[in-house]
Subunit: 383 residues, 2 copies
């Protein structure tokens, strides 16, 4: 029998607060009504501080990958050159998106788990002066590392080069400063720090990005951001039928986030991440991203000879604790514990406890309880 | 004060059954798990009879417009020619989608409210022998008319021409025979007869459409159907993070639909449509689509001199009854009453009652109660 109580620590999808689940279960309304317009306006305005922007935030009914493609096809034309930071599976996705849409992408490679060095981006721009945009993740979910977006912005903002940031596991997790950093397109998805089911994405554009989008020649229709801006800003509705219940949910979840207070929300993620990281050494595990660990998800390399995929399955199927393994080159070698969603610091005790039990059952040797004790110690030291 | 009880008779979004709302409020699970895979497989299999197909049904996290674009970009390449039936706002959208994606669309015009004549399609194919596809709506939501898909299929199936059908207000409403009719791509959305919130679309492809999709040169990534087929059929998950809760909801709603029985579901829509149409004459109103009225939504032309937009607002704001007005050239001249979603025949009494009260308040002269009596009479005659 699988355990009754399930715990979800995957870095998306995440647990949704019960009051948000109920909000989304409200009777549907039509999306061309003043009532819907008020909810849409509210949700869009409440998103702005999470991006650190005064620009309009647009909602798209898609996953985050849809918003990534929207950034590509609205800011570039076929044949355009662009730089993208490839330091993991999602960085690599920029390259695939560019290629699929007829653009020429030049990769700046950073080792999995390491942040890109801003100088690498500057060098790439010198090597490819025709590049019209730089694409990067604020937090690379596959490697649990963050990239220095602010420093990259200092390089791109003085040039006619757009900076496009995937904030899927960073917006709402830790402080983002879109306007201050000079980011031109900042996007995220619903199923991470926004504590919602997947199916909704958000994107904010700078003035120069909006100007370029209005002139883009790339083929697109569903993800036409100029059209969405007109609908959402001027008509208080969306261009296409939107995921109405998710937008209800977003407005509610943002109400909860702002009631908690953004500094408190960010501190909560930071505490969960630090508490989880504190368990690594006592369990004889290594962090995949020691230099620039992401506050939204912690990645622990599994011991040599221990099958990480088996560990993740055991934790899920026998213990009811959902964590995620590694992707691509990290398959079977990584355990990722998410800190996003309807979670508090005390939940990390459960996550690390289950991790310990899983490791023990698979033969890894360590002092049982040492990880949990480290988590508890870190929580006790907070506020 | 607005009324407490709201009634939703818009042709999408629609009312969602309470048990489906609760299903969607279930705790989230990760989409790369056997548990999710089982739900996905079940929902996809349960969709097949609604399309009338034995082909694989793919789910997309987008609105129906996203699935329309997926059909265009997976079956055609830039520069390709295609025929599209333009008999309303959604027919027109095919033309916009083709243009936005660099294809050359040739419109077959049918008057708003009238079905296209199959001979028109045959003539267009003769005039444009280079056309590689025909795009049509099974039910044109904006005009409440149906097009003869089976007869068009008889024209296209013997040629190297794909037939693409928008079934957004027809799949689950009345019987569709994708395989028998020779349809190559059949798509629909969640927020109509499937009784769900918007945010999920479904598309089924014939073998020859799958073959062509696998070779398509059109730019696309989020809507790459070859990739989705591989993920959904072979890996029991989706290529991108899917709208998990909507897929839970879809599986549940399809359980309810099959428990009711497809013939009964189709008869229910038909009865609602016939009962609503029966009210037209007693109220001195004309049907916009008398020859081929859609079973999913009934369109009534408003009397000369009476502002249809005002009528719709009055019904919604003062009576709590949501119906929809006309779009584009029908703005202010049409009232559309939907028969899709969690509705039964008796709900049409409420819809027509509110319509009568709205018409009366705006000065239209007729015998109050005559429409409701006609609805009641039609319901009483059924089974």
């Amino acid at each position: 029998m699988p355990p009754l109580k399930k715990y979800l620590f995957t870095p998306g999808p995440v647990s949704v607060p019960p009051e948000v689940l109920l909000e989304m279960a409200r009777p549907l309304i039509h999306h061309r009504t003043p009532e819907f317009g008020a909810v849409l306006d509210s949700a869009r305005a409440r998103m702005q501080p999470l991006f650190g922007t005064r620009q309009e935030v647009l909602l798209l009914s898609s996953s985050g990958t849809g918003a990534m493609e929207a950034a590509v096809t609205n800011l570039l034309a076929p044949g355009d050159h662009a730089i993208y930071v490839n330091g993991g599976k999602f960085g690599e996705r920029w390259g695939k998106l560019l290629k699929a849409n007829g653009m020429i992408g030049h990769a700046v490679i950073s080792e999995w788990g390491r942040p890109v060095r801003p100088a690498q981006v500057a060098e790439a721009l010198t090597a490819h002066p025709e590049a019209r945009a730089v694409f990067v993740q604020a937090s690379e979910t596959s490697t649990c590392a963050i990239h220095p977006v602010g420093e990259i912005g200092a390089i791109t903002r003085g040039r006619d080069v757009m900076l496009v940031v995937d904030g899927i596991t960073s917006v709402g997790v830790f402080e983002q400063k879109m306007d201050e950093w000079g980011v031109d397109a900042y996007l995220t998805g619903s199923q991470k720090a926004l504590m919602l089911p997947p199916g909704l994405a958000m994107i904010a554009l700078s003035d120069r990005a909006l100007a370029r989008a209005s002139q883009s020649r790339a083929p697109r229709y569903y993800f036409d951001l100029t059209r969405e801006l007109k609908s959402q800003r001027d008509e208080h509705t969306t261009a296409w039928t939107p995921a109405v219940s998710l937008i209800f949910g977003l407005n509610k979840t943002l109400e909860l986030i702002h009631a908690e207070g953004l500094p408190q929300v960010y501190a909560r993620h930071q505490l969960m991440a630090e508490a989880t990281r504190a368990a690594a050494a006592p369990l004889g595990l290594t962090l995949i991203a020691p230099d620039a660990p992401a506050p939204g998800v912690t990645g622990l390399l599994t011991p040599d000879g221990l099958d990480g995929s088996k560990l993740v399955r055991l934790m899920r199927d026998e213990l009811g604790v959902g964590v995620q393994g590694g992707q691509d080159q990290m398959k079977g070698r990584l355990v990722r514990i998410g800190h996003m969603g309807y979670l508090g610091a005390f939940d990390m005790l459960a996550a690390v406890s289950a991790l310990e039990i899983g490791l023990q059952r698979l033969g890894h040797r360590f002092t049982i309880g040492a990880g949990v004790a480290a988590v508890q110690e870190r929580i006790a030291r907070s506020g």
